[in-house]
Subunit: 211 residues, 2 copies
């Protein structure tokens, strides 16, 4: 016999999972991009330059800038790496593994901000170059939630979940190792890189579900 | 009450699934490559040329050749597309979606050999160019089995299964829509393209399992 409390606990868990799985989560596909310190920006684009906004991105306060840099690795140069502003305390370049392989880099899979001991490279801008010892990462796929969204769904920051994507498109994929990140700066979105998006046939704005 | 025959049937199904999930399946990552008709080969490499073998690939009878072509799409040119020989009845170029996007092509996801109505492009070789109206595809991920392997596992050609990959590497992924292909020309292997391999942190020779 299963104890009644146990049954109640299982029922609550099933209810939570069902609720989670029903939420439509929009996809945000991240092309390769960079976040720069003010000091690195000035070297790359000139002392008098400031980031020029092209458009807001879904995460509040961030915007895609006009500025593009190139990234030089041991085997080649990757072009058109867009700046996402505003400035950050640490320079961070986010690339897909396919991008990295093309120029001979082996960046680790990391959460944004965790650049310690990551890959180095040379950043090239119209006004100058910067060699960084670390800062190149492959972004860990993750879900952004605002605190009310997270609470409604019963997910906590740092929790690891599975996301089903691409159902019915011939490349359905269940992404495991998806990290939940909760912040009042975030709004609901599943962030993947171009390798991941292409694997499941996803584009920005498509809808996925926690599995 | 569940009928005894139904229980026996379920038990047999569970046993089959357990057996399937325990088989170690090696991964074969396909970089972008091409299969050429003899006529196209001669235009691209010259009338007197023949494919030069570099190394056998795991599927019996096939080999990677020395010859490389380039592929021109509306937005650019993709280089270093290796010939996989011998000649085929239809020219077929297999690229990852990331490759295709880079040159402005939108090839469909197809099984090898199914090129009807797929994407066109211009093939460029050292001796000449060929414009093809169709032939560029993104390969449907698939499993190769020899007939005895398929029989032992209870899988049929054309069956669609799920494959779990990359467990423990921080990018675990369950690939759905994996097509089983059985032929006495095949040996056990899970074929993915570079986007798929990078999404799960896979390289050739890694081991995956039917899920």
């Amino acid at each position: 016999m299963i104890a009644p409390e146990r049954i109640a606990g299982l029922a609550a868990e099933i209810e939570k999972r069902l609720k989670r799985s029903q939420l439509d989560i929009p996809v945000g596909v991240s092309n390769r991009h960079c976040h720069l310190t003010e000091a690195h920006f000035k070297i790359l684009f000139g002392r008098g330059a400031e980031p020029k906004k092209v458009k807001a991105i879904k995460q509040p306060g961030f915007y895609a800038a006009e500025e593009l840099i190139s990234l030089q690795g041991p085997k080649g140069v990757l072009h058109k790496i867009r700046l996402v502003a505003p400035y950050r305390a640490h320079t961070q370049i986010e690339v897909a593994v396919t991008d990295a392989v093309a120029i001979g880099l082996k960046p680790p899979v990391r959460e944004s901000g965790d650049v310690k001991g990551s890959a180095g490279a040379v950043l090239i801008g119209p006004a100058g170059k910067v060699e960084i010892k670390e800062g190149v990462i492959v972004a860990q796929r993750h879900l952004h939630f605002s605190p009310p969204e997270a609470q409604a769904l019963g997910v906590a920051s740092g929790e690891v979940v599975r996301v089903r994507a691409g159902t019915g498109g011939g490349r359905a994929t269940v992404f495991e190792d998806v990290v939940v990140r909760v912040s009042d700066k975030y709004s609901l979105e599943f962030h993947v890189d171009t390798d991941e998006a292409n694997t499941a046939g996803l584009k920005t704005g498509d809808v996925v579900h926690i599995a």
